[in-house]
């Protein structure tokens, strides 16, 4: 009888608890509000998020709350007393997601298919739980969709001119400003940031430049012509404004962006965004620079390891050279540049590179804006997804190997850096790509 009445009581209680998330379908960079209602005042509960990624791995986040005098918990306003995040964190359930206990090590969450949403199950459990969620029945659960593509954004694979790329056009007739989106040394065609930029009104092309089809077929790395061909696709597109094209690069992508911005005769950028990278690279007049960059960045002598044997590559480019032939001459830049760096970047010396005063000496520092984030690591990505302090990385070379790379960053500070830098990046792009005819205007209100 006791068991039956407990079940009845639990059913009645479960029946009352109301859990809602708004919006239930949102963009990846939109905040949501998680509301629990109709519990008793002072009721202890755990809000739990669960996500099964494309690779089949399970991720979870959770936080402990105590219901208010009105019998409610609002995750955006109330403090978490413990869990995978603490304090008031509206999006903690997303950025503090981590692989469930017993998972393979070195995982990194990246959505490769942007045409479907990320589906996260958010539940509420009685009490302050830290484990065994799978064995308990929650009081309530809802599903939330998180999208990289806004309604009406069009995804167009690009293979012309030997390119391996995907163009995302915003909703509407256009014309739109354009952007070339470059990721880093891991290669592959990674679409999610370009999809998100298109959801914000910028025609963005994600470009695979390390592992494109043409390199797989010929064995040769790409050169200037490849990036110039990608630029031309944007410039000549009937729905893209040829005079308003930007480039955005992360990590190795920064090396490419700065190289093209200064030395390409074809690429004329309205502005550039460089995340977690450096201007340090051998400049020898050759167009076969990708290959030489990869060699330059493989100086094994300066590789270090931490106690967990994670690879630290930041010293490869240190100290920042004074030799001009080893740095992109950023003094020659003619367009606004936004640098985003994490001060705990263990992979590239991005902070030290940003502090190298070449533009000050050349007199074009009015074009430069630096966003520097304490305790943030290397992988500064769009907000509200988890960051990994270290993860498995497969190197691009004739003998590829998988190593555990230390990216750096403390989770809360890194998540703050992602949210803040993304917002400011969008403002920077909007002002320079949509704004009036003064491309040199400095971003006073960014800082």
């Amino acid at each position: 009888f006791g068991l039956w009445s407990t079940k009845m009581f639990q059913e009645k209680k479960r029946c009352c608890v109301k859990l809602s998330v708004h919006p239930s379908r949102g963009l990846m960079d939109e905040k949501f509000t998680v509301l629990v209602q109709n519990v008793l005042p002072g009721f202890q509960l755990t809000v739990y998020a669960f996500y099964k990624c494309e690779g089949g791995y399970s991720w979870e986040a959770f936080a402990h709350y105590t219901a208010s005098a009105t019998g409610a918990v609002n995750v955006s306003e109330d403090p978490s007393r413990g869990g995978t995040y603490s304090g008031v964190e509206p999006m903690g359930l997303m950025w503090s997601l981590r692989p469930v206990p017993g998972s393979k090590s070195g995982l990194r969450m990246r959505k490769m298919n942007v045409q479907t949403p990320m589906e996260v199950t958010i539940s509420v459990y009685q009490g302050h739980l830290t484990e065994g969620f799978v064995d308990q029945v929650p009081l309530a659960a809802v599903v939330v969709e998180r999208w990289y593509m806004a309604p009406g954004v069009r995804r167009i694979p690009i293979t012309e001119g030997g390119l391996t790329a995907t163009l995302f056009l915003p909703s509407g007739p256009g014309p739109f400003p354009g952007l070339l989106d470059l990721w880093g040394g891991g290669g592959k065609l990674v679409e999610y940031r370009a999809a998100l930029l298109a959801s914000h009104g910028i025609a963005a092309m994600a470009l695979d430049y390390l592992t494109p089809q043409i390199t797989k077929e010929t064995g040769k790395m790409v050169d200037y012509e490849y990036f110039e061909a990608a630029y031309r696709v944007l410039e000549q597109h009937p729905q893209i404004l040829g005079s308003r094209i930007a480039m955005l690069g992360l990590s190795f992508g920064t090396s490419v962006t700065l190289r093209m911005a200064v030395y390409s005769q074809v690429i004329k950028l309205r502005c550039a965004v460089c995340i977690s990278g450096s201007h340090v690279q051998p400049i020898d007049g050759s167009h076969l620079f990708v290959f030489s960059l990869l060699s330059f960045f493989s100086n094994a002598d300066k590789t270090r390891f931490n106690e967990e044997q994670h690879v630290i590559w930041r010293d490869l480019l240190m100290p920042i050279p004074t030799d001009a032939s080893l740095k992109v001459d950023v003094g020659r830049l003619r367009c606004p540049l936004l640098l985003v760096v994490g001060e705990d970047d263990q992979n590239w010396p991005s902070y030290e590179s940003a502090m190298d005063e070449m533009m000050q000496r050349a007199g074009n520092e009015h074009l430069l804006t630096v966003l520097s984030y304490p305790n943030a690591g290397h992988l500064i990505e769009p907000p509200f997804t988890p960051s990994a302090r270290a993860s498995a990385f497969k190197t691009i070379s004739n003998t590829p190997q998988t190593v555990m790379v230390l990216w750096g960053g403390e989770p809360v500070a890194h998540s703050v850096a992602q949210e803040d830098s993304w917002r400011k990046t969008l403002v920077f792009l909007r002002v320079n790509l949509y704004g009036g005819s003064q491309p040199g205007a400095k971003m006073k209100n960014l800082l």
Binding site: C15, R25, E145
Partner: protein, 434 residues
């Protein structure tokens, strides 16, 4: 200065931004439509366009003037003309009508609830009245309107002779349940049940005769009881918390079940645009024959649209022609439009109240009646159609004026959800329990 007007316009054109927040929403959620980067004080037209599953185009528009910062916010600003006026956040949806040149008598109803309704929202320069298709907007964006929330499961039901679709909310459950019945057009319409499931009710959309085939309506009473039990017996449904929801003929069936069934006990009943005129002991076929016998009282308006309202007026005194509503034992919510031209729903509601009062059951009844609302009171923000094709080429007059009808849909849905929450969710005060 000196630049061609088209170039100046092109430069201005490039930076206008239109946004709809949220860009993906349930059909009963509001959105905020905003335009930025316009020159201050410029006249613009906000326009919505939707291509229905039947390939018809529906549109609405409002005339605005940008403020000193060059913005327009539909939720905060006034429309000075178009298909709606005043401060109307959702006017671009509820004031939609078929574009000029469309077929006659159209009604907008979603068939496939697994994909959203796509609505294009654009902004045009100037106060435009027509010819939107031939002009280039300054900016446009697409928004999705869903009947199905994320995680809601859709289960096709074909068991014990019952046909329908069951929608189960996400989560462990168990959930209160609903039997959802539409009206005399027949067929299987899932959209209201999908929406109810998105609000936490396990809802079965019931098919009880083939679309447009009144002759096929041969279901006996037991069909509806079996359908109710299918919901009740589902492992994720709380057996003593199953309600009834009906519109028009479906509402009549709901009242019939609540009054006459000795097999099922609905927890509560929502009756939209229904009545209680039903020859006792009749089945559906006999019911239709009874109505047909009054068809000489049918009127048509100046456009030859049929007004069925008077067919069953005056409300008969003869109790054998009416449901014995005094036998109802569950809370009833009656939602009606005072301008209903299809059914004398308000007169029926008045008579039902009278009969229930006589039986001491009046405390169970809640009546809401909306001035200038018509027969088809649907979930909010769906367009109003004063008259549409019903079966074959007959056009029925449903009644209602667009703005009051839209208000009635919005207000009644809120009241309906509150009524369901009260009777199917927290029926006990949890504080008392503890």
């Amino acid at each position: 200065e000196g630049a061609p007007v088209s170039l100046v316009r092109a430069r201005w054109l490039q930076s206008v931004v239109i946004s709809v927040t949220p860009s993906r929403a349930l059909v009963d959620e509001t959105f905020r439509v905003a335009v930025q980067n316009l020159p201050p004080g410029s006249p613009v037209t906000l326009h919505s366009l939707h291509r229905s599953e039947d390939e018809d185009l529906w549109e609405a528009f409002g005339h605005y003037v940008s403020d000193s910062r060059g913005t327009v916010s539909v939720a905060d600003d006034f429309s000075f003309g178009g298909t709606y006026t005043g401060k109307e956040a959702m006017g671009l949806l509820w004031s939609m009508s078929p574009v000029p040149g469309s077929r006659e008598g159209l009604r907008l109803r979603k068939k496939n609830v697994c994909i959203p309704q796509l609505v294009n929202i654009s902004v045009y320069g100037g106060h435009v009245e027509e010819g939107f298709g031939e002009r280039l907007p300054l900016a446009s964006t697409l928004t999705e309107r869903w009947h199905l929330g994320p995680g809601v499961r859709r289960i096709e039901i074909s068991e014990r002779g019952v046909r329908g679709t069951l929608f189960i909310p996400p989560g462990p459950g168990p959930f209160p349940g609903m039997l959802d019945m539409w009206g005399g057009g027949g067929g299987l319409l899932e959209y209201r049940s999908a929406l109810l499931a998105s609000h936490g009710y396990a809802s079965l959309a019931l098919e009880y005769f083939t679309a447009g085939e009144l002759k096929s309506a041969d279901k006996e009473f037991s069909y509806f009881e079996t359908a109710f039990n299918i919901v009740r017996e589902h492992p994720q449904v709380i057996p003593d918390r199953v309600g009834l929801f009906g519109l028009s003929l479906g509402s009549l069936m709901a009242s019939y079940l609540a009054a006459e069934s000795s097999v099922i006990e609905p927890r509560c009943c929502v009756c939209v645009s229904g009545g209680h005129l039903y020859p006792r002991g009749a089945n559906l076929q006999q019911l239709f024959r009874a109505y047909s016998s009054h068809s000489h009282k049918l009127r048509v308006d100046e456009h030859n649209r049929e007004i069925w309202r008077s067919i069953n007026l005056p409300i008969p005194e003869d109790l054998s022609q009416k449901l014995d509503v005094g036998k109802i034992n569950c809370p009833m919510l009656l939602v009606n439009g005072i301008d209903d031209q299809n059914w004398p729903t308000v007169e029926c509601a008045e008579d039902m109240a009278h009969m229930m009062r006589a039986a001491g059951k009046e405390h169970l009844l809640t009546r809401i009646e909306y001035p200038d609302a018509g027969h088809l009171i649907e979930p909010p923000y769906s367009p109003h159609s004063r008259a549409t094709k019903f079966i074959k080429d007959v056009i029925l007059l449903w009644g209602g004026q667009t703005k009051p009808h839209a208000d009635a849909q919005e207000d009644s849905w809120r009241n309906i959800l509150a009524f369901l929450q009260k009777h199917l969710y927290c029926t006990q005060n949890p504080k008392a329990k503890m």
